[in-house]
């Protein structure tokens, strides 16, 4: 049964407020994405099997062998063209609808955020001269105009505000009313799988506006929680947003490759959908930095989407569309990396390194928020994994490693 998605974002004091028509315009882009996934995506399989694969075989004298062959076959097919074009346009209209709304209310928003910033005693650190890595500055990732780091002065929060609203729509509400399902799921995983583990200092790498960071403060209230990101407007917005949600979380503009924190100073280092937005050279450096930062016995957990090696080529092809059509340059390549080997090379003992699934926390919102109905949350949590849909059914893939005690 298709899910009727009426999910709505929780309106906190830092979040832009859309007027009637802006909201309707934004809702439409969420509906369009939902339609592309439920109405157009399933058709790609029969189109491939009954038409595109045969056309490829006729032309090349052999069936498509891998995701690159499948891509060659599919890009010529009109059904695929409609699917991919509509998906891209939905993404563009989403940002357009959000940016117009943020632009209209920017002065009020800046004031609200300045007030929240002033009332959050946890440290905030940002620097307009910060060297933003090329893998973030070269292309505007997932087509968000301006990207994570563009700013006009050392106080600018516009890109953070755009991201907070835009990513909720991008995720179609699948991440919960505060867009924090990944962080919540990882917290739950840590608490349930390692009940004795009480981290005192937690680092969230590549935190953007702190969607996944805040749940760590909520679930481990005695811990010091720090979120870092290379985007200045993101960390500034994150600091205000955490206060708006009632938590004093620290945010700093720093790179996960070289954080500048003292060695052995964290019990837990996490990241959520960070790795696929870095690069082939940055990824092993980030793993080494995690190992350096951890205390003996400390845990590294990276939550991202699964590697390609266990997927069939057609599934790989569907996922890899993000690389080509959504300004995600490292999306496909990252999935071919040997992450287990990378963690081992960074110094983690082989027997502690593994992939696992952190069940989606979405069911916790069921009933607690009016738009997250029991039926919709259940439908979301119990889906099968379908490549091309926003979130996997069931749970998030996590890579875990523990530093030697």
């Amino acid at each position: 049964m298709d899910m009727v998605n009426t999910f709505q974002q929780h309106q906190h004091a830092a979040l832009p407020r859309a007027n009637h028509d802006e909201r309707a315009r934004q809702e439409f882009t969420k509906s369009l994405k939902q339609f592309v996934q439920q109405g157009l995506l399933p058709g790609l399989t029969p189109v491939y099997q009954t038409r595109a694969a045969k056309a490829f075989e006729k032309e090349h004298g052999k069936p498509p062998a891998d995701r690159w062959d499948i891509r060659k076959a599919m890009v010529k097919d009109l059904y695929f063209q409609h699917y991919a074009a509509t998906n891209r346009i939905a993404q563009e209209l989403l940002w357009e609808a959000v940016i117009g709304s943020v632009e209209r209310q920017l002065p009020e928003l800046e004031k609200a955020i300045a007030d929240l910033t002033a009332s959050n005693p946890a440290p905030l650190e940002s620097d307009p001269a910060f060297p933003v890595p090329r893998y973030v500055s070269a292309l505007d990732i997932h087509c968000m105009p301006g990207g994570y780091a563009s700013e006009i002065d050392g106080k600018d929060i516009a890109q953070g505000a755009i991201y907070d609203r835009g990513v909720y729509l991008y995720a179609m509400g699948y991440m919960g009313p505060d867009n924090d399902d990944m962080g919540r799921s990882v917290c739950n995983y840590v608490k349930r799988k390692m009940p004795g583990f009480q981290p005192k200092r937690i680092l969230d790498m590549g935190c953007t506006v702190g969607h996944s960071t805040v749940p760590f403060k909520e679930q481990f209230p005695d811990a010091e929680v720090i979120g870092i990101d290379v985007g200045g407007p993101c960390v500034r917005y994150a600091h205000a947003r955490s206060k708006a949600l009632g938590h004093d979380v620290s945010f700093m503009q720093r790179s996960a490759e070289d954080t500048g924190f003292e060695a052995g100073s964290f019990d837990l280092v996490v990241s959520h959908i960070l790795l696929h937005e870095t690069s082939g050279q940055a990824m092993p450096r980030i793993f080494r930095e995690c190992h350096r930062l951890l205390k003996p016995g400390g845990l590294m957990i990276h939550a991202d989407l699964p590697p390609f090696d266990l997927m069939d080529p057609f599934t790989q092809f569907i996922l890899d569309n993000e690389t080509y059509y959504n300004n995600e340059p490292f999306w496909g390549a990252m999935r071919d990396k040997d992450q287990i080997g990378m963690a081992r090379d960074a110094g983690f003992p082989a027997e502690t390194i593994r992939f696992d699934t952190a069940p989606m926390a979405i069911m916790e919102f069921a009933g607690a928020d009016t738009t997250y109905t029991e039926d919709a949350a259940e439908a979301l949590a119990e889906r099968e994994f379908t490549a091309g849909e926003y979130a996997p059914g069931g749970g998030w893939e996590v890579l875990i490693a523990q530093k030697a005690a």
Partner: protein
């Protein structure tokens, strides 16, 4: 008012082989977006009126257009359709008057010289 960036860095892919089709598709979906906004706004009008005791929804369903309204609406719909199909109208008119690309080129050449 500060203008925020509207274009994402990174060359936009082309999905269709037919030139102009990518632009046409994006324009169609922008129109669909605005149509959806208007439909939502109309729904809000009905809901707000209902909250004040005016059941617009039921009144709209019960409404019977009079003859003048029927005529005005039919004229408006035909006018809209004519605009929607203006390129087809032009093509038929060209065929009816034997207007051709050759005649157009010839006119350019003639006028340039004469």
């Amino acid at each position: 008012m500060r203008k925020l960036e509207r274009n994402a860095r990174g060359k936009r892919p082309q999905f269709y082989e037919t030139p102009g089709m990518d632009e046409a598709m994006s324009m169609i979906l922008v129109l669909a977006n605005e149509l959806s906004v208007v439909r939502d706004r109309l729904d809000t009008v009905e809901k707000v009126a209902a909250a004040k005791g005016i059941m617009l929804d039921a009144e709209i369903e019960a409404y019977e257009p009079d003859q003048a309204t029927l005529e005005a609406r039919e004229l408006r719909r035909q006018d809209f359709l004519a605009r929607l199909f203006y390129v087809a109208r032009k093509e038929a008119a060209e065929l009816a008057t034997q207007d051709t690309a050759e005649r157009y080129s010839k006119a350019l050449d003639d006028i340039a010289v004469n």
